[in-house]
């Protein structure tokens, strides 16, 4: 934070590294914020086998969809920590006033957020994959699609979190705002995993997911910064 206080003479890249480092350090000091969405992810995926206890063969066909829906919901849950605590204690206002581009700040914060939420979720997913009976040969596609999907979702989520940051019932609204936008990710992500499980080439769906990821990476930071400018004032 100290270097940020030096003002605009700090280069944007330096400011972004500092923010990423600060976010990561904060996450490791408050591990429950990182762990809770992951535990939620595990619990939700456990609910499906319990609910389908008599038709476990169904589960194998549904597994990619179950995995993806659970990942989507758990990512939504973790969005709460993206801007909220910084907005509550005024850090976000200070960052906005620091003279650095708000877009760069959003990029740094979202990237750091993805590292502790999305990437962690990707790392846990093989565990869930095995539990749901997804064949190990599908894991590369599953991991790749989840990585691209959660990254895109973090950018979309940054818009939603930015729009709802000061609101009282923000977390319900975030789902309302982000989920419709996230549906294409679910379609192509679960589709890619499904195709790989059926032995068909999943390249098409993965390419689409990759292009969605590039699309959100390039445009969403501007939208999220604009959202923050509206809500912070």
């Amino acid at each position: 934070m100290n270097a940020l206080a030096e003002g605009p003479e700090v280069s944007a890249l330096r400011a972004m590294t500092l923010i990423v480092r600060r976010e990561l350090r904060l996450s490791f000091r408050r591990p429950e914020q990182v762990l809770q969405p992951l535990v939620f992810f595990l619990i939700v995926t456990t609910l499906f086998p319990l609910g389908l206890s008599l038709q476990l063969s169904l589960l194998r066909d549904m597994a990619p969809g179950v995995l993806w829906v659970a990942a989507l919901l758990s990512s939504l849950l973790s969005l709460d920590s993206l801007f909220k605590s910084d907005a509550d204690d005024g850090t976000l206002d200070q960052l906005a006033l620091s003279g650095q581009s708000l877009t760069a700040i959003v990029v740094a914060k979202t990237a750091a957020h993805w590292l502790v939420s999305g990437a962690a979720l990707v790392l846990v997913s093989p565990l869930v994959g095995i539990a749901l009976g997804i064949p190990v040969s599908v894991f590369p596609t599953m991991l790749g699609s989840l990585a691209l999907g959660t990254l895109s979702l973090s950018w979309l989520g940054a818009i939603g979190a930015g729009l709802t940051v000061g609101l009282k019932r923000g977390n319900v609204l975030v789902s309302l705002v982000v989920l419709p936008l996230a549906m294409p990710l679910l379609i192509f992500g679960a589709g890619a995993t499904d195709r790989a499980a059926a032995g068909i080439s999943s390249a098409g769906a993965l390419y689409l997911l990759g292009s969605l990821c590039v699309f959100t990476c390039t445009l969403a930071p501007f939208a999220a910064a604009a959202a923050l400018r509206i809500t912070l004032e």
Partner: protein, 244 residues
């Protein structure tokens, strides 16, 4: 030259213009919808494949078109508001949202009623249907975001930004029947060259479309007046307008 544009930013002018436009738009809408219904339900010949069941097209296609038109209008009005800080365009966006959501719901309902005899199912998870459903959810998001802010100006801007972001869905809906193998039939009217429909079927559809557009205009004018009165309730001219 730009005075007409500047005048659109003035609440009393918008309020009076909307009031003056409403009866005209409503008259045209009623006439066009009645003519279109007579033409579509009575005069147009039955389809060679779908028989009389195709006639729901005269409600389905105009409402689906209006669902996209309203969303675009809402996003453009929001963008104008964000760029030029014109408060009245936020009022227009706020007035449009529920109307557009209703058209979307109507398109989905008529579509599934049409799907039952033709496809054998009320609903299919087809790209066109899914993207139209997402549009309904986007409307819901925009409509619930606006009132969530205590400061109405902030709610307006947040809703405008969200509607611009959600605009990516509009081309997806339009091209979904081309991009994916879809159960939904392809474009009938909006394509280059000759429409794949004979004139006796086409004219009632275009008349219905005109009717729906004018109906939208009339309803939005009425809602816009309500929005303007609510937003400007502190100002002197509103007190005058209500008194008179």
């Amino acid at each position: 030259m730009w005075t007409w544009f500047y005048r659109l930013a003035s609440p009393p002018y918008v309020y009076r213009t909307a009031a003056a436009l409403t009866p005209w738009l409503m008259t045209v809408a009623v006439i066009a919808i009645v003519c279109g219904l007579i033409g579509g339900l009575g005069l147009a010949p039955p389809d060679y494949q779908q028989g009389d069941a195709f006639r729901i097209i005269y409600v389905h296609v105009p409402s689906a078109y209006m669902s996209l038109f309203c969303y675009s209008a809402m996003a453009v009005a929001g963008a104008i508001g964000l760029i030029w800080r014109i408060k009245m365009s936020y009022a227009l966006a706020a007035a449009t949202a529920p109307v557009g959501a209703s058209f979307t719901a109507l398109a989905l309902v008529t579509g599934s009623l049409w799907g039952r005899p033709m496809w054998g199912t009320y609903w299919a998870w087809d790209p066109r249907l899914t993207s139209e459903l997402i549009l309904l959810f986007l409307y819901a998001g925009v409509m619930s975001l606006r009132p969530a802010f205590e400061d109405p100006a902030r709610g307006d801007r947040a809703a405008a930004l969200l509607s611009i972001v959600g605009f990516v869905n509009v081309p997806i809906i339009h091209y979904s029947v081309q991009w994916w193998n879809s159960l939904h039939q392809g474009a009938t009217i909006a394509k280059i060259g000759k429409p794949s429909m004979p004139g006796s079927m086409l004219w009632p559809l275009l008349t219905m479309l005109l009717g729906f557009m004018c109906f939208y205009g009339a309803v939005v004018c009425m809602r816009l007046r309500g929005e303007v009165l609510n937003r400007e309730r502190q100002s002197a001219w509103v007190r005058e307008a209500i008194k008179s």
